[in-house]
């Protein structure tokens, strides 16, 4: 029974809704949905640590290798969680916090790149550095694409009201998750390679995430 002082649903709205009152399964909390990305990426990073042969000055199972990877993976996963939170109306982290989180994630990747270079004692890139760097960035970008697709898809299943931020967080997360694996595989430790080429993959994924999410969200809202 609806109390008398309550407004009835207008006829036009009732007609627009039609008989579409089918039960819907509510979304799980963002942290639970973020686990869908955690498990496959963790398996990949773990396998790389255990299976990759020692190469170069830093082995995959050493502290700078494994430790930095785990740290990047954890921060990447936190960004996925924030992207999924941002996609739920009323739970959003807001533009300022999203920007701070993006800055922290990107800053971490740059800082770890710098530390890796310091630990490795590598010199400048040498000949063909740009070609190797571009190939490395392309590989890392390709590695991040599945994570980006899954994170954006998970975000769009909710209702991102600031899809640009949600997508950018998802993209940066995909970049960090990819880098956490790729820096175990990559054998180049010169500063230019780590800061320019590895970082550029994350940057491209971030921009791609923002654009992709905005476009898909606009379409969904207009439908």
């Amino acid at each position: 029974m609806i109390p008398r002082d309550h407004e009835p649903v207008p006829t036009a709205l009732r007609a627009a809704l039609g008989q579409d009152f089918a039960p819907v399964a509510p979304l799980s909390p963002p942290w639970k949905r973020a686990l869908r990305l955690a498990i496959p990426t963790l398996i990949l990073v773990g396998a790389a640590m255990l299976l990759l042969p020692p190469r170069g000055p830093i082995s995959a199972s050493s502290l700078p290798g494994a430790g930095f990877s785990v740290l990047e993976w954890l921060v990447g996963l936190t960004l996925v969680w924030l992207a999924l939170r941002e996609a739920v109306p009323g739970l959003g982290v807001g533009a300022r916090r999203a920007l701070a989180a993006l800055g922290a994630g990107i800053g971490l990747q740059l800082a770890l790149g710098f530390l890796l270079w310091q630990r490795s004692g590598a010199s400048l890139g040498g000949p063909h550095a740009a070609a190797h760097g571009a190939a490395c960035a392309a590989m890392e970008g390709a590695l991040g694409m599945p994570s980006l697709a899954i994170a954006v898809w998970l975000a769009l299943r909710a209702l991102p009201l600031r899809p640009c931020w949600s997508g950018a967080l998802a993209g940066a997360a995909a970049g960090l998750l990819a880098d956490s694996l790729w820096h175990l595989v990559c054998v180049r430790y010169d500063l230019e390679h780590l800061l320019v080429w590895h970082f550029s993959a994350t940057l491209v994924l971030t921009l791609l995430g923002a654009g992709w999410s905005s476009r898909r969200s606009r379409r969904a809202l207009a439908a």
Partner: protein, 191 residues
């Protein structure tokens, strides 16, 4: 301390809304009707604080509930309903304002649509409600929105922060500045 008191919500939020939303998600049409019945009036008032002049607010209310219906799965069980619902309403309102492309001075609200803010009722003897409506209209949109949500809809600042996507402190500052500006406008109009 005085400021803290003036920021207390006017009415406690209804706590059975999460159950209502869960029933709605489970396919209970009556739950939607009850949700609409209980919240449509407040949502309409809120959308008026966001809408550009000449906008059909009733249309916005219906669009909001249509959007709510389409994205009802995005409500997380157990979470407060109003921040979720008002965030969607805000989005609908802001989209309409942007698409209207008009940033002109807002229309004066009709008499029966004015928010019943404590400070407003005190001033009602000195000013008529239309003048009060004008005073509200010159406030910055974000501040007016925060003021309305807190003093009319009874939102806590945490809930306002969730709706506006800002920190709780920023929401408090917005509402406080709007209140100060409103007092200034009322004093100016009373001269």
């Amino acid at each position: 301390m005085e400021q803290t008191t003036q920021y207390e919500a006017r009415e406690p939020p209804p706590d059975d809304l999460p159950d209502l939303m869960s029933r709605y998600q489970a396919g209970d049409e009556a739950a939607f009707e009850e949700l609409y019945g209980r919240l449509a009036r407040a949502v309409r008032g809120y959308l008026r604080t966001l809408a550009a002049p000449g906008t059909d607010v009733e249309d916005l209310v219906q669009n909001t509930f249509l959007q709510i219906h389409r994205s009802r799965r995005s409500y997380l069980p157990g979470e407060p309903v109003r921040p979720w619902l008002y965030a969607i309403a805000r989005h609908v309102g802001l989209m309409a304002r942007r698409s209207s492309g008009r940033r002109a001075r807002r229309e004066i609200q009709a008499e029966d649509e004015l928010p019943e803010v404590a400070v407003l009722s005190r001033a009602a003897g000195a000013l008529d409600r239309i003048a009060l409506g004008r005073a509200l209209r010159v406030l910055p949109p974000a501040g007016r929105e925060a003021l309305w949500l807190h003093h009319v809809a009874g939102f806590s600042f945490r809930e306002i922060a969730a709706v506006q996507g800002v920190s709780e402190t920023a929401a408090k500052v917005r509402a406080h500045r709007a209140l100060v500006a409103l007092r200034g406008e009322i004093a100016e109009a009373g001269k």
